[in-house]
Symmetry: C2
Subunit: 189 residues, 2 copies
Amino acid sequence: MKLLKEKIVNEGKVLSDTVLKVDSFLNHQIDPLLMKEIGEEFANRFSDQVITKILTIESSGIAPATMLGLTIGAPVVFARKRKSLTLSGNLFSATVHSFTKNETNEISVSKDFLTPEDNVLIIDDFLANGEAVKGLLDIVEQSGAQMIGVGIVIEKGFQKGGAALREQGIRVESLANIKSMSNGNVEFY
Amino acid sequence: MKLLKEKIVNEGKVLSDTVLKVDSFLNHQIDPLLMKEIGEEFANRFSDQVITKILTIESSGIAPATMLGLTIGAPVVFARKRKSLTLSGNLFSATVHSFTKNETNEISVSKDFLTPEDNVLIIDDFLANGEAVKGLLDIVEQSGAQMIGVGIVIEKGFQKGGAALREQGIRVESLANIKSMSNGNVEFY
């Protein structure tokens, strides 16, 4: 996706060979028009599928997932990273380790919003080691819903997550797939 | 906002005289079309103002804030509840106590995304005791930006937050303002 790649090159900050900061449009400040175009691009990529539910994880997945939901007319469910008092019991849960934040969270989704009748597309902002997506896949499997695939805004293709998912036969569509970030330059596949 | 009030009456679950669960369209599952209409309604309410930045807080404020941002062409910044390794230093911070979750968080916004030139509208999903909004106001004040007002999806008008803000001269626009939830019935102002 050309507009996204330009945004990454122009506004992304390469903090190391593996860390890319895109806080100006995706992870802290959000560019709503770019999110809309990302939502439309996901809709195009998966236009051969009937999606009844979009599953993402708080917080940075919410904006692109909601724009996709608006485009195709499907509800979004975001997995929560901790239990809150108003979201107790009746949950599908999985454990996710975040290498960026160096912490392990339990993520959970209410059983009210994922059923065996659902066709689920997973959306997330980043794919690196694939930990978050693995947790979401676990939750989809627990629910008995059908997995359609995974839509990622930015994949770090030089890390192992995407390859591992594709080897399992899971369809992964990344709107920008980064080959390397050596010497502060972002190169795409 | 009629559509929102209908949704609250039809899908909201009154768990006690003070706790309303709207997990089916706002706080866990998200109804993207409703979020779009909410964004447009906020744009109408504040159409007399020039907004350069929308400030919200993760996670449930993100969807309505992003739809408002799309409508008026302004970026959204969401305050983070904990520091992450890629969001360090250079922060405006405030402390927020959540009565719902019974925990106190530090919220923070990068100094890169709020400046004295900004005209800021705060958006949040709920207003009850007003703790989250107070934290966001504190951050806007630290930044030197101009405060335009506060847009709330659901105000619990029987709690003190909204009255306290209005007494301070802050403009608060709530799309649904709840008068009481006694006996499991939601009554609006």
